[in-house]
């Protein structure tokens, strides 16, 4: 299961994606955030705890209680600054 990171978060990770074993797929977005925070550096862990950092599941912004399956495309990114 691949987790995508964009912008500032991608830089903090040092890569544009983070892999976890499909078997370890967490139940929901909140559980995924908690799991990731244990695996990444302190700065990125802090960002993942920030409610202003979005999680998108299958390219739609998702709430903390959205359930996950290992085939989902999941991404984390900071608030948008386009336009």
């Amino acid at each position: 299961m691949k987790i995508l990171f964009f912008a500032r978060l991608r830089e903090l990770l040092g890569s544009d994606c983070f892999e976890i074993a499909d078997a370890d797929c967490p139940a929901d977005v909140a559980a995924l955030r908690a799991m990731l925070r244990l695996s990444v550096n302190a700065q990125l862990a802090e960002s993942l705890a920030d409610p202003n950092v979005f999680c998108a599941v299958n390219q739609k912004v998702a709430g903390e209680d959205q359930t996950l399956k290992s085939s989902d495309e999941v991404a984390f990114f900071p608030p948008m600054t386009g336009g």
Partner: protein, 152 residues
Amino acid sequence: MFSVAISKEPLDVSALTRDFPRSAAETGAVVTFTGFVRGEGISALALEHYPGMTEQSILDSIHSAARRWPVQSVQVVHRVGELAAGEPIVWLAVGAGHRAAAFSACEFVMDYLKISAPLWKRERDLEGNWHWVDAKIADRDRARRWGGGAIA
């Protein structure tokens, strides 16, 4: 006729304007917005996007606008990659029968694009260092003017 494109190449605003679809019988008003890189204190700007989600998110904003106002055609082209001061970042056009709908839909799509399309800016300062641009609370407040459920 709704279209969204993400472009790595410079936007040719003049050609986009010329080719924007209109109906001679029905289009009475076209409103366009072009956003440019302001060069105050920066030497360059870079834009990153989420391929697929960015396009769909902008299209969602357009569909949301089209449910609120009678628009005929909406086109958005957003630049990504590295840009110099004075270069266009985004071009948006709305065609409608009358101007009120064209103005409102154009401003609405820009407001929602700003807060909902996955795009992120970095600026290079005059010393050559890159900095991520912080999201503006004002953008969120501006989009909220249009009321709830706008993207639904």
